[in-house]
């Protein structure tokens, strides 16, 4: 699904935050332990990062127009989510002595790394300079027979 305007981003972030609220309150089978809660939070972080990447790819490909207000909202929500996930990770450390061995901890750390990378290296998406992403090729633009007849890679090129 493409999330392209301000209200759609707002709705998406609200839904993710509401799910995290419920999980932190121990509601639902998904959040019955600290390990499950950490895992759930990691999943939400990944979902969020995927949505941001999809939006940026859509701008890059010219499928949607860049809107600076949408960008600012994505970034603000990313910062908030990062802070929330980091807090949850620290709570896990305080509440479970075997926290260091939890699978959810590893997953959440990995998700936090991705969030941080996105924030630290942020570039504003814009339309692709190269043609491949933004050109919509008709099916007959590529000669399928030529593709079909491409030989396998010879061993000396591997």
């Amino acid at each position: 699904m493409t999330i392209c305007d301000f209200n759609q981003v707002k709705d998406f972030a609200t839904t993710v935050n509401a799910q995290l609220d419920r999980c932190e309150n121990g509601e639902g089978a998904d959040c019955s332990s600290i390990d499950a809660t950490l895992t759930f939070c990691a999943q939400q972080c990944c979902t969020f990062v995927d949505a941001v990447r999809k939006w940026a790819q859509d701008v890059f490909a010219g499928r949607i127009a860049f809107d600076p207000a949408v960008e600012q909202l994505w970034k603000a929500e990313l910062v908030q989510l990062f802070s929330r996930a980091q807090h949850l990770l620290s709570l896990g450390w305080q509440t479970d002595p075997s926290w260091y061995a939890l699978e959810g901890k590893t997953r959440l750390e990995s998700a936090l790394w991705n969030l941080q990378k996105l924030l630290n290296e942020w570039v504003s998406p814009k339309l692709s300079v190269g043609p491949s992403a933004r050109m919509k090729l008709p099916a007959d633009a590529i000669d399928r027979q030529r593709i079909e007849s491409l030989p396998p890679l010879s061993a000396d090129k591997r």
Partner: protein, 185 residues
């Protein structure tokens, strides 16, 4: 070295925040298209897509001689049965270091990486490696042809934004014959 053996290069994987990337961006490319791709497209592909970027060092001379990028993307997915596939958005040799076989060595490395990616079950990556080249880039096109790429576009495709026509080239990077779902159906 030109026309003879391919020089040995040491690939250094970098991202857009690496100091080497800043250095590469200052290279005086004669084609401004390369500089624009480096400034705008590559950082976006690294951050928002699945691109990998390498700088290359000549193992004899210890200096940077070029760079190359592979993205696993969906830009030609209609020809890969809607599977992500490897794509070369850009590679270039350091201006002033051209004509020594570095371009061929860089392409060879990128083909090897694509072959590796296509051999992995997760994440899915088709075995067709694509690139595109403007018809005016005759040296680049010759390099790709020598490296095994074949023109697969039925005819040159006109790009309104760049006011230039380009060709799509591809090669298979698996050793077995793998037929794309799109071609079977």
């Amino acid at each position: 070295m030109a026309g003879g053996s391919i020089p040995t290069l040491r690939p250094i994987q970098i991202d857009a925040s690496h100091s080497i990337f800043e250095e590469i961006r200052r290279w005086p490319f004669s084609d401004s298209f390369v500089s624009r791709l480096l400034r705008d497209d590559i950082p976006q592909r690294l951050l928002f897509s699945n691109a990998l970027l390498w700088a290359y060092q000549d193992t004899d001379e210890n200096d940077l001689v070029g760079f190359g990028c592979i993205d696993v993307c969906t830009e030609y997915q209609q020809f890969t049965g809607y599977e992500p596939h490897p794509y070369i958005p850009l590679l270039a040799v350091n201006p002033g270091r051209e004509g020594r076989g570095y371009g061929k060595a860089i392409v060879r490395h990128l083909i090897s990486v694509s072959a590796y990616l296509a051999s992995q079950k997760e994440p899915a990556c088709h075995d067709l490696l694509f690139l595109d080249v403007y018809v005016t880039s005759t040296r680049a096109r010759a390099l790709y042809e020598k490296s095994g790429f074949v023109i697969v576009s039925a005819q040159p495709i006109y790009d309104e934004i760049e006011k230039n026509s380009y060709l799509v080239m591809a090669q298979r990077v698996s050793q077995g014959s793998r037929m794309s779902r799109a071609l079977i159906e």
